[in-house]
Structures are given as C-alpha cells and as structure tokens.
C-alpha cells in the first residue's frame, strides 16, 4: 500500500504542476487552453535537445527551456488567444487547439517524430521505502514543485502584478474599471502558465524516461482533469486536484488495472463535480448559463440564405457530384457527409440548448458498435440497423449523461468529455477485440458498396437529418430548447424543466451521432476502440463552431472545410497540419462566430 501511495504522490506531483498553468490561464482569461498540452511536449523535447544533443548541463538547460516557453507563450497570447478571448472564449478555445497542432508538428519537424530517451540527469531509483524505489530526481521534482507553488502563491498574494491577476480572475470588468491593465495582466498570466508548462514537461520526461513531440497530450489531458477537479481558476485547487487525482488513480489502477485508467480518472471527476459542482476548491459559477455558448449566442446572426440555395445545394450535392465526381471525391465526400450528419445533430445541444458537450466520440462509438453487432448477430439489415443504432446511442448516452445536467458552466463540457471517454473505455473493456466483416449495405441482394452508393445513401441521410433539424427548430419543442440555451434562469422561472430539456437535446444529438457511427462502421467494415478518440470529439466540436454553432446547415459547411482541407492540403504532406492549424486560426480570427454567421 505504501508503494502505491508513493507512486500516486509522484504522479500527482507532475499533474499538479501541469494543472496550475491550465488553471491560471482559465482564471484570468476564461479560456480552456489546449496549447498548454503542447508546452509539456515541447518542454521535454527542448530539454532533451539541450542536454542530449548540445551537451549543456541540466542546470543551464532548464532555465533555457523555461525562457523559450515563456517567450512562445507571450507570442501566442499576443497574436492568437487574447484578440479572441476578449469577446469569444469559445473561438479562443478553438484557436488554442489550432496552436497546439502547430506547435506539436513544428516540434516534430524540428526534432523528428522519434521517441527519445530522456537523459538521466539525476538518479531515479537510488532510494527506497518498503519495496518502492524512487530517486533523488523524484525528491528534487517534489521540492521544485513545492518551491514553485509557494513562490507563485506569495507572488499572487503580495506582488502588485499578482494582486492584479487575482483581481482580474475575480471580475475582469471591475478590474478594468479600477485601472488595472487587464491586457498586461493576462499576458503575464499566460507567460507564467507557458513557462510552468515547459517546466512540467521536463519533469514528466524525467519521470517517464522517454519523450516525443506529441507526448504532452496524454498527461495534458489528465492535468486538465486535475485542474477541473480542484476547481478551474483556483491554484491551490489545481495542486490539491493534482495530488488527489494522482493518488486515487494509483490505487484505482492497483485494484482495477491500467486499462481502466481513463474510467477511473473521469469517474472521479464526474463524482466530484456532481457533489461539488465547482470542483474541490473552486467557486460554483455564478452565471448559470454555459459561458462557452451562452454568451456566444448573442454575438452574431446567421446569414440570410436566399431560398434558391436549398434546391441548388440539393441538385449539386445529390445529382451533380455523384454524376461527375470520381471515386476519390466521392469517398472524401462520404466522410464529409457522415461528419456533417453528426455535427448537424449536435447543433441542438451546442447551439439551441447552449451546452458545448465535448465527448461526442462516445455516442458515435455506441452507434457503430450497436449497428455492427446487430447486423452481424441478428437478422437485422443495414437499413433497420442505422436508425436502431441511433436509438441505442441516444438511450445509452442519455442515461449515462443524466447526472451531469446539474453541473454548471464550463464544468458541464468537461463532464460530458468524461462521459464520452468513459463510454469508449467501457467498450474497450467489454469488446476488446476489433469487429471484422461488418456487412456493407445491400438492397434486394445487390450489394451497394461502391463509393457512389455510399455517397448517395449518406447524402439521403444528411438531407433527412437537416429536415428533422429544421422541424425541431420550428416546433414548440425547439423554441423551448432554445429558451434554455438563451437564458436558463428565465426559462426555469417560466416553468421550463431546464435539466430535462438539456437532456432531451443531448439525446437528439446522440441519436444522430449514433447514426453517423453506424454509417462509418458499415463503410469501414471494421471497427475497434482506437478509432473513437478524443480527436474525433474535438473534430465534431470544431466543425460545429466553424459552421456556426446553432446552424445545422452550417455544420455541413464546417465539415466540408475541415475534412476537405485535410485532403486539399495533401500537396504539402510535411506541413499539412501546420497549414491546417493556420487556416483554422485565420477562419476563427475573421469569422469567430462561424462561417455562416454575420458578426453583429
């Protein structure tokens, strides 16, 4: 038991360091900063480069890494994050994701994608307690964390700039009125966070022993959970959350195995959020609307599309493309259509109900598995399996997500991310082998497995999806759901059962995610859990934001741009992701409300 506890303390230390930076930026800017994840990977690679390649001593390398990360952080905040964060936290979040893509890939080009052995700058297993061994390196890390935490707390408590940071975190408007240069304060916070990210990255690599440019993502995700657990914006919370998560995970893995790690991590998070909706030490958010979208809805109005656009789109998408295009375009088109179906369905949750759920890979996976298992093990045909898969996804996801609707603010996004991740992790435990030979669609014994047939089937489903979305929006139900998204206190006061309608909206979205998953499964004919990743969830969210968060047809445009862009950029394979990231930043920068949304 003692050794598990020590293992937990050591991993908790790393999470805590990572979580502090995330919490700091969130506190002063109200932005979830995905770029922080990249600083973990970058810090590790820079330290590796300085020590293993240039032969610098660790004592010189470490400050160098911190300075470089701090500088980069300033640059990113100046150019990308702050201009957006001022008026649209959601767009800023998306842009930090784009920045993380650019950073990871630039680092991959600079250092190559190889995993590298991280030099052992200090002994790692020269001491022991019971059967557990640890090293001077672990003690130094613990000590550095302690010193950094004390220094930051002192700075925040007594330093002039620190006090300004706290004031800004508490109320940006008021801080501004009191003469605090909020912009400067935000820069300082971002710089500190980036430097801490680099430091944490070096420590992660020291602890783990190997690093590669993208290795920050996984620890980053856990550090993010730790920050949420402690209460976003609370630094002490981040530290407590980090250690609590590290220790609980260690014991969880001890009893249930490493395969259950993600389930353990997110189960802890969800339970804590239900009991304490603001995290362990955070404040329960005062504004009860989802800040990600609630403030977002008023920011723009959809472009008025003339009526001829619809028949024209129908003719182009349903007739011209299938007749003219080659198989490659049709196959790409099929991917676009499937993601458009998923994203269009998701606009009910994201746009109307105002909840930016982050774990859509969960219902997509349920739909894919339900459809695969139904068609393989029962006489159910493809045509029946597709809607059934949607239904199964809607029912299971709603039941699993039902506890999270009481959670408020950003926390609900993170809780839904947890639900999605847990769904995929449970599927991995339940059906560990991949599923092969999922039947392709057929009609009256004729297989419909050509790229054109897939395209047409999926096009028809998309048209149906958009029709359903249109009906929902125009119905009384749709108006009620929209009222929940626009102002849930007002809705509640008018007697609307806010929680239930959020759940209903989520069920509708999960239905279409399930349908999309089913279509994917029958096209791939093979599925396994590695297909349904967090990146898939992020792609859905990105598509929706890109098109306009409450526009189902905007999702189609978003899917064309985001999936089409990846294909269009094939001419520059090495720079593909970097260019993709830049395109994403530019689009978000100039159309922060979505491509089809006019800024007001």
């Amino acid at each position: 038991m003692v050794d598990t506890l020590i293992a937990g303390l050591l991993r908790g230390n790393v999470y805590a360091l990572g979580a502090v930076g995330i919490s700091l930026v969130f506190g002063v800017m109200n932005v979830i900063n995905f770029a922080q994840f990249s600083f973990f990977g970058l810090g590790a690679m820079l330290a590796w480069f300085f020590v293993a390649q240039l032969g610098l001593s660790f004592g010189i390398a470490l400050p160098l890494v911190i300075v470089i990360c701090a500088g980069l952080g300033l640059l990113i905040n100046l150019i990308v994050v702050r201009p957006l964060a001022q008026f649209l936290p959601l767009a800023a979040m998306l842009s930090t994701y784009a920045v993380s893509q650019i950073l990871d890939n630039a680092s991959q080009i600079a250092f190559t994608a190889q995993f590298r052995v991280f030099p052992q700058v200090l002994p790692t297993s020269n001491l022991h307690l019971g059967t557990m061994r640890f090293g001077t390196s672990d003690l130094v890390m613990l000590a550095v964390t302690a010193v950094v935490m004390v220094a930051i707390s002192a700075f925040l408590k007594y330093g002039k700039v620190g006090q300004a940071i706290r004031a800004t975190a508490q109320d940006q408007e008021a801080a501004l009125q009191m003469g605090i240069p909020v912009g400067l304060v935000q820069h300082v916070a971002f710089v500190i966070a980036s430097a801490l990210g680099g430091l944490a990255g070096v420590f992660i690599a020291l602890y783990v022993g190997v690093a590669n440019p993208t290795s920050g993502l996984n620890t980053g995700m856990t550090a993010f959970v730790a920050a949420t657990l402690g209460g976003l914006g609370s630094l002490l919370g981040a530290v407590v959350g980090g250690f609590a998560l590290g220790i609980l995970e260690a014991f969880g893995i001890h009893f249930f195995g490493d395969s259950a790690r993600e389930i353990i991590t997110f189960a802890i998070l969800i339970v804590v959020l239900i009991v304490r909706p603001g995290g362990l030490l955070g404040k329960v958010p005062l504004i009860s609307t989802e800040p990600l979208t609630g403030t977002f809805l008023g920011k723009g109005r959809p472009l008025q599309l003339p009526r001829w656009v619809w028949p024209a789109a129908l003719v182009v998408g349903g007739l011209v493309i299938p007749l003219v295009a080659g198989d490659y375009v049709l196959t790409t088109g099929t991917q676009v259509l499937i993601y458009a179906i998923i994203a269009a369905g998701f606009t009910v949750t994201a746009g109307q109900a105002g909840v930016m759920a982050l774990g859509q890979a969960g219902p997509i996976a349920i739909g894919a598995y339900a459809s695969a298992l139904l068609t393989l093990h029962t006489p159910v045909s493809f045509w029946v399996a597709v809607p059934l898969a949607g239904l199964v996804a809607a029912i299971i996801s709603s039941i699993l997500a039902s506890p999270v609707w009481g959670v408020k603010g950003h926390y609900i996004s993170i809780a839904t991310l947890g639900v999605g991740t847990v769904i995929v992790a449970v599927i991995r435990l339940a059906v560990p082998q991949g599923i092969y030979g999922i039947p392709m669609p057929s009609w009256g014994g004729t297989p419909l497995a050509t790229p054109r047939a897939y395209y047409l089937i999926d096009f028809a489903v998309l048209v149906l999806t958009l029709l359903v979305m249109w009906r929902i929006r125009r119905s009384h139900l749709g108006k009620v759901i929209s009222s929940v998204g626009a102002d849930d206190v007002a809705a509640l006061a008018s007697g609307v059962r806010v929680r239930d309608y959020k759940a209903l909206a989520f069920a509708v979205s999960a239905f279409f995610a399930g349908v999309g998953g089913s279509l994917l499964a029958h096209q791939y004919t093979y599925i396994d859990p590695t297909i349904f990743t967090m990146l898939m969830s992020l792609l859905v969210v990105t598509i929706v934001i890109m098109g306009g968060v409450s526009l189902p047809y905007g999702a189609v445009v978003g899917a064309i741009v985001l999936i089409g862009a990846m294909e269009l950029l094939r001419f520059t394979p090495e720079l593909r992701i970097i260019v993709y990231g830049l395109v994403l930043i530019l689009v978000v920068r100039f159309r922060p409300g979505g491509i089809l949304v006019r800024n007001s």
Binding site: D3, T4, A7, N105, Q108, T112, A113, Q114, F115, R116, V117, S125, H128, M132, R133, F134, I204, Y207, V208, G209, V210, N212, T214, N218, A250, G252, H254, G257, D258, R261, L303, A325, G326, D327, Y328, T331, Q335, R428, P432, G434, Y436, T450, Q523, Y524, T525, Y526, D528, P529, T530, I531, V557, I560, I563, G564, E567, L568, P573, R576, L596, R598
Partner: protein, 387 residues
Amino acid sequence: MTFPTTIGRRVAALVLTAATLATAACSSSASAGGGSGTAPVYFGVSSATTGQYAQYGQQFKQAFDLAVEQVNAEGGINGRPVALKYEDSQSDPKQSVTVAQKFVSDKDVILAFGDYSSAASIPASPIYTSGKLVQYGFNNSNPAFTEKGSEYQWSTAITTTANYRWTADYIKSQGVTSVGVSYLNTADWGIPAFQAFKAEAEKVGLTITDAEGVLDTSDDYRPSLTKAVAGKPEAFVHIGYGPDAAKLVTQLRAIGYQGTFYGGQDEKSFDGTPDAAGSIIAAQFVETSTDPAVKAFVDAFKQKYPAEQHVTLFEATAYDALHVAVAAAKQGGTTREGILKGFREVKDVPSVVYGAVSFDPATRRVQDPKLTPTILKDGKWVEYKKA
C-alpha cells in the same frame, strides 16, 4: 450591415465550398496509362508522415527511398524505374480510406503499401479489394489483416500469433517456469498477441502469475507493475511496442524487480534506455548479424543516412517490402493483375529479415518465418546464445 457585404460573404462561403470540392475533383482525375517504355512504375505508400505514429512513417520512408534508389540503379523493373507516391494517412481510418480510394482511382499505381496500424489498414481493405489493387500491409502483424481480407491483402509481417507462440516456447526452453506479464490492451495488436502467448504458455506449462493490460498512452506503470510482480515470477514478459516498453522496464527496475525482461522492440527509445540492457526478444532482423545481405543493407543505410545510428526492424521490413513488390512485378508484370499474379508465384525473394521470402498462398503470409533470440547489449541487439 449593408447589402453588398452580405452578398459578398454569402458568395465567399459558397465559393469556398465549391472550390474545396472542385480542387478535390481535379486532383482525382489522374492520368491513366503510362503502360510501358521507360515510364516509371508507381507504388503507393499509405502511412503516417504526421501525427502520433509519424516516427514509423519516417522510418519506412528512409528505407523505401534507399531501396528505390538501389532498384533503379540496377535497371529498375525491366528498364522502367520504380517511383513511389506517398500519402499521409496519419494512420487514421478517416484518411486511410480516402487515400486508398485515391490510389485505386490513380491508374498508374499498381500496388499500395500500408497502412501502419491495423485499425487504419483494415477499414481501407474493402476499397483496395473492390479496386483490384494489391494492398501490401508489410507491417500488419494482426493475423486478421490477411485472414479476414481478400486475395488482395498480402503481408510479410510475422503474425502476432506466430511471434508470441514462439516467445512462450522460448521462455519455457530457458528453464523459466513462471512469468509476470503486461500487455498492451489494444484490439488491433496487444490483445490478440497476449491471447496467443497465454494459450501457448498453458500448453507448455509456463505459469503466468499475473497479467496486466496496460495502455501505451499511460506514462506511469508502477501501480500495475507492483501488482504484476507480487507473485514473484521468475521472469517478466511485456507484450508491447518500444516506447511503452522503455517506460515500463525503467519503472519495473525502479520497483526493484530483478528478473529477466522479455520484451521491448528494436527501436531508438528502447535501445537507448539504460534499464533495458539485457532484455531478450524474438527478432526477425538483427542489425549486428554477420549475414552479408544484412551487412550490405546496414552499411548502405548508414551511408545514405549518416545521422542514423541504428537500423531497426522497421527500416528492414520496409526495405524488404519494396524488394518483394519489385520481384512480384518482375515475375507477373507491371500491371495490377500482373503484380497479384507475381505475389502468388514469387519464390525465395532475397530478404534481409527472413533470408528469403516465399508466400503461403493460403494465408498470404511468409512461409516459415524464422525468429532469432536476441539480447540488448550496449544499445545494440545481438544474437543471444545462452552460455
């Protein structure tokens, strides 16, 4: 807002949409033909040049480029040079299927290599099959890639089943009676591999004291490891890749376990990990082998890429794969049907991994792949003979 601006934006949105589709359409209308003469013979490569598996994509590319250079220096395929068309799939099924379709539509491509992971290869297989294009998954050790595939799926990778059956037998033959096991809990590789190991261990009487499924995305294995070695096994087996094995062996030693480590991979991060020294694995390719063909390959590789200190199985398999594909095209002809015929007929193609490659037409895998026990010494894998 003024009327013209609205129109402008609306038009911009539509133009963007149209442009996306149109450009995609153009790039697909590949030129057909290029049948004979001195026009290059094209093979497609679907692999990860970016993203989390980019490490392997880069290793494959180095070896492919070297092999193409050599083949062309020796006159190519009956006077026609060989050329590769690379497409980045990020080893993501969403992209590997479009890449497959791109290759199928491109009449110049007579064979496609890849993808890296089975989760990306298998979803692309139906497209290759319906396009009658050979999909040569030289890295796909998941038996299902060929078993569940069609006559168009071929592989020179040893199956996880063969590999881990051998491993269980070998460990038992070393006089070991009990092992602790960790394996990657992944559907496309780790789980089938572990199941093969477990079945064989039961058969030969090798006790598994505890088996822990782990994820390669984890960084901290200590809680799993303390449990896996609690039953005091004589040796430890890790069924996984190089980077995770590197983290794992370091932590295994850190918790004080001293038994032999049967695991790891010939891969930079593992080879360079101090605690990995003394690890034993079944190798298909040994860089330090005295075999002249291997020596020639290793020397040529290091000459072309002076920065690379090691040549691993990943480079070797890609290098071999190109030579096998060339041999098949020489045998059956430089068309899609021809190369398929070639795969069915080729015998004893020289190989740096297996010595010589012949396919079993029923399984579309290498006949009798040989494995050699190797031990990691001073950062290099050498053939292991027990003193």
